[in-house]
């Protein structure tokens, strides 16, 4: 079965026998984008979080067939070293990662949160950011999320004015 979608701004098609294969393995093993992580494969840890049409989606529980015609963003498409997303910029400023494995999932979840809730309260963060980090970088992540909201607010103000 052929499935076509846009991923990080590029139109891609994959030919896959099992259309129920979770998108995670298509992204990692067929499209060779390794930033999206396999953590549990059970939608329990959030390491595989991506955006599908702007919504945070855990790609290990998302059959590839649903991706047909969708706009997909992974950590590789969120921003770049030359043009980091405010969330990535904030993560760098706060020096958040330790082992780093869960961080792309957290950053994708945070980026989705800021689209819905531009200036999240601690409670908004507690409710929406429910990924798992074993290094327990939560303390810096919370600071980085607030900082990202600030950076994002600033950049959108610039655009508006």
């Amino acid at each position: 079965m052929k499935i076509s979608f846009t991923i990080n701004g590029t139109q891609r098609s994959v030919d896959i026998a099992d259309e129920n294969t979770p998108l995670l393995w298509v992204i990692r093993d067929m499209l060779d984008l390794k930033g999206t992580k396999f953590g549990c494969g059970k939608a329990a840890c959030g390491a595989c979080t991506i955006h599908v049409d702007g919504q945070a989606i855990r790609s290990c529980s998302y059959a590839v067939k649903f991706a047909q015609g969708k706009q997909i963003t992974t950590i590789e498409g969120l921003g770049s070293e030359d043009d980091p997303h405010p969330v990535q910029q904030a993560w760098i400023e706060e020096i958040v990662p330790q082992c780093g494995y869960c961080q792309p999932g957290f950053m994708m979840a945070t980026a989705a949160l800021l689209e819905q809730v531009p200036d999240p309260t601690d409670e908004d963060i507690d409710k929406n950011i429910v990924n798992v980090c074993r290094c327990a970088t939560y303390y810096r992540m919370r600071k980085a999320i607030h900082r990202a909201a600030e950076l994002k607010g600033r950049s959108s103000n610039t655009i508006n004015s």
Partner: protein
């Protein structure tokens, strides 16, 4: 970390620390005088770092673009070692931080750590040798530059990887570009710490960009051309012995390339991860199980009084019996590592050579095991470590590397395989459960007269492939389980600590900080009980009973600093109470104050103040990061996590049911105070995990009058 082409014009310092050393220039053969020189260097240095002896090793490499590549024998698992090593090297090499690239040393070209990355020793053990290697390297570069520039070496000025003489300049790369021979000077004196530009500064982690932009740096990200995917059938019940496997159905599943049947495992190789695992599910394996273990069986085994005792600390008299003896018991449960990157490996076996890419903490052991199983020379097995998606002790055992290599050999293609989450949980090498009995008597002045700690633990170091089996015989006690088991208040006249050892029916092993977490929970909860009984505030009670030697003074200093910074009080203020606890781990003292309330019947930790004395903090920011992470991971273990044994299975097998601290549980404030009581770096990654469990429980007692003596802490 960019992908840089390694120039042919490079030089290598090959140093076989411990036994043999070599220095090579490009492809030039090593000369014996140089070997002896380095041997002497190594021999004269007080080296806790133990590199393996007979293999060629590489530390530094200068690439054409004047980048210095440091091949680290220690792996980066989040603890920030790469950054600290780069800081140390940059300062002695006289290069800019951004000119240093740190990579994992591969076994065929790099120094191989004889033991492991673990025990919080990476920076402390390399502090002396790495700086000396870097300083020696700098002198060698300088001497070569002197020849080229026709100037006295002493007259040259080195800065940011550039050598200047008057208005003439050479980069390091230019200076060493065409060298065929050189002299290795005596190890030059090291700089004074106060003159370092990078050591001691909060430099951003050098792997920050790779980790923020999603670079493929981890073990299970690795790929090779024509790679296939493997899966290995694993039993779900404790003590399962393989009897037979029916693989007929699996053989005809889509994508299956080969079923690999060995005496000790059955694997599947297929064209995708999903296909390999689908086929694995279709294999029917018969296992023989002698007993359906239950949690109650384990709890019954794990009691002080069972197994073999070993007195590890003995001062003065025993506590003895009597009405005035205060006693309390504590327990901790089975804990899982639950690191975020499941164990996995990519293996490629071609003829008599094997390449293994893997997240491992035991590079040398991984190599040895693969070589032994496949009958290869160790020199022909190249283990290329990757960044670890968490270590925590879980990657001190890598039998999956052997299985992947066997499968690769069978299909003559590279094979990658990684655990499912259920496999990860059920085949973890768990933190053993523990049981503690503490006893004490107080003097009339309220100070402790005698104190005794009996603790029972499953294996940590015993039977670990990391240590020779005679180690236990020689040491008499489990060197992992006893971490934190000692009484750290050595002014107390009468002390006993007794370690009881029980081997459980499932694998238990190294878990970040080993025995420290549970032992400190028991010790420091009990100290709190004694302080209250004596009518003393818990901080001065502890300080009064710490001894006056160096270790005691450092311990007192962190306790004073933590209490002062937190504004410690025994009073409940606005529904919040403070709890105090301290520990000394591998020489590093740490004290913490937890500020706690009860919300909706749950323990809520608002703020943790942490004072620690790790000696020289090579990177204070990353020392702080280790404290912050250890505090929350310790909270997770002390307040949430628990594995059960149900009908022979270790459960749960998924995040969620395996309850771990999430964002909402993390304290919103963590205040870290760093002291420096010694002139060298001490262990950092594990010590701050010690106090937190007791600190929280001690605060809960002040709030509720309820003494929580079992982990995970439960108010119900």
């Amino acid at each position: 970390m960019g992908k840089k082409k390694i120039s042919r014009r490079k030089f290598l310092v090959r140093g076989g620390l411990g036994t043999i050393g070599m220095l090579a220039l490009g492809t030039y053969v090593l000369r014996n005088p140089i070997r002896r020189k380095l041997l002497d260097f190594v021999n004269s240095a007080d080296l806790p770092y133990q590199g393996s002896g007979m293999e060629p090793m590489v530390w530094f490499e200068v690439s054409k673009d004047n980048t210095i590549i440091l091949h680290s024998p220690k792996v980066e698992m989040g603890q920030g070692t790469f950054t600290s090593l780069a800081q140390m090297a940059a300062d002695e090499l006289e290069v800019n931080m951004n000119q240093i690239e740190v990579v994992h040393a591969a076994t065929t070209t790099g120094s191989i750590d004889a033991l492991s990355t673990g025990g919080s020793t990476s920076v402390s053990s390399l502090w002396q040798p790495l700086r000396e290697l870097a300083a020696t390297m700098r002198e060698m570069i300088k001497n070569e530059a002197a020849k080229k520039l026709g100037a006295e070496a002493n007259s040259l000025h080195l800065k940011d990887g550039v050598i200047s003489s008057g208005d003439k300049q050479l980069t390091y790369a230019e200076a060493v570009a065409d060298i065929t021979e050189w002299e290795v000077p005596d190890t030059p004196p090291l700089k004074e710490i106060k003159h370092y530009k990078y050591v001691g500064k909060p430099i951003p982690r050098i792997d920050l960009n790779a980790k923020v932009f999603g670079d493929p740096i981890f073990g299970i990200d690795a790929e090779m051309p024509n790679m296939l995917y493997g899966a290995v059938v694993r039993p779900t019940r404790i003590g399962s012995k393989f009897v037979s496997a029916d693989t007929v159905a699996a053989e005809n599943m889509p994508g299956v390339v080969k079923i690999v049947k060995e005496d000790d495992f059955v694997g599947v190789v297929a064209s995708s991860y999903i296909e390999a695992n689908n086929a694995k599910e279709a294999i029917e394996v018969t296992w023989e199980v002698e007993k359906d273990w239950q949690t109650s069986d384990i709890e019954a085994m794990m009691k002080v009084g069972n197994g073999n005792p070993m007195t590890i600390q003995k001062e003065g008299d025993e506590v003895g019996e009597g009405e005035n003896v205060i006693t309390a018991e504590f327990t901790s449960p089975i804990g899982a590592h639950a690191q975020m990157e499941p164990n996995g490996v990519l293996a490629s076996v071609e003829g008599h050579k094997a390449t293994i890419k893997i997240s491992t903490q035991v590079v040398g052991m991984t190599r040895k095991e693969v070589a032994t199983r496949l009958g290869l020379d160790e020199e022909d097995v190249n283990v290329i470590p990757t960044y670890l998606g968490g270590g925590f002790g879980r990657r001190l055992h890598t039998p999956h590397a052997v299985q992947a290599a066997v499968m690769s050999k069978a299909v003559r293609k590279p094979v990658k395989y990684y655990f499912t989450l259920k496999e990860e949980f059920q085949h973890d090498m768990f933190r053993p459960p523990t049981h503690h009995v503490l006893k004490a008597t107080l003097k009339e002045n309220g100070m402790i007269h005698a104190i005794e700690h009996h603790f029972s633990s499953g294996d940590v170091a015993i039977d670990s492939p990391l240590l020779p089996s005679v180690a236990h015989t020689i040491m008499g006690a489990d060197i992992g389980a006893i971490r934190g088991g000692f009484c750290q208040y050595r002014a107390i006249p009468n002390i006993r600590s007794v370690s009881w050892h029980v081997t459980l029916p499932f694998a238990t092993s190294w878990w970040r900080s080993l025995g420290l977490l549970a032992n400190t929970f028991a010790w420091e909860s009990f100290m709190d009980e004694l302080a209250l009984k004596a009518g003393k505030d818990p901080v001065t009670f502890r300080i009064a009973q710490a001894q006056d030697d160096k270790a005691g003074k450092r311990l007192k200093a962190v306790m004073e600093a933590a209490a002062e910074k937190a504004g410690y009080t025994d009073e409940v203020v606005n529904g919040r109470a403070m709890g105090f606890a301290a520990s000394t781990d591998a020489g590093t003292p740490c004290a913490q104050v937890a500020e706690v309330s009860i919300e909706d019947g749950q323990i809520k930790v608002h703020k943790v103040t942490c004072a620690m004395d790790p000696g020289v903090a090579v990177n204070p920011d990353q020392v702080r990061a280790q404290c912050e992470g250890a505090i929350i991971m310790g909270m997770s273990a002390a307040m949430h996590e628990q594995m059960f044994v149900e009908n022979g299975e270790l459960r749960p097998v998924i995040y969620g049911p395996y309850d771990m601290a999430l964002m909402k549980h993390a304290p919103k404030e963590i205040d870290v105070v760093l002291l420096q009581g010694i002139e060298k770096p001490g262990p950092v990654g594990e010590p701050p995990l010690g106090p937190i469990g007791a600190a929280v429980a001690n605060a809960v007692f002040r709030l509720t009058g309820k003494r929580l003596r079992n982990m995970p802490l439960n108010l119900a």
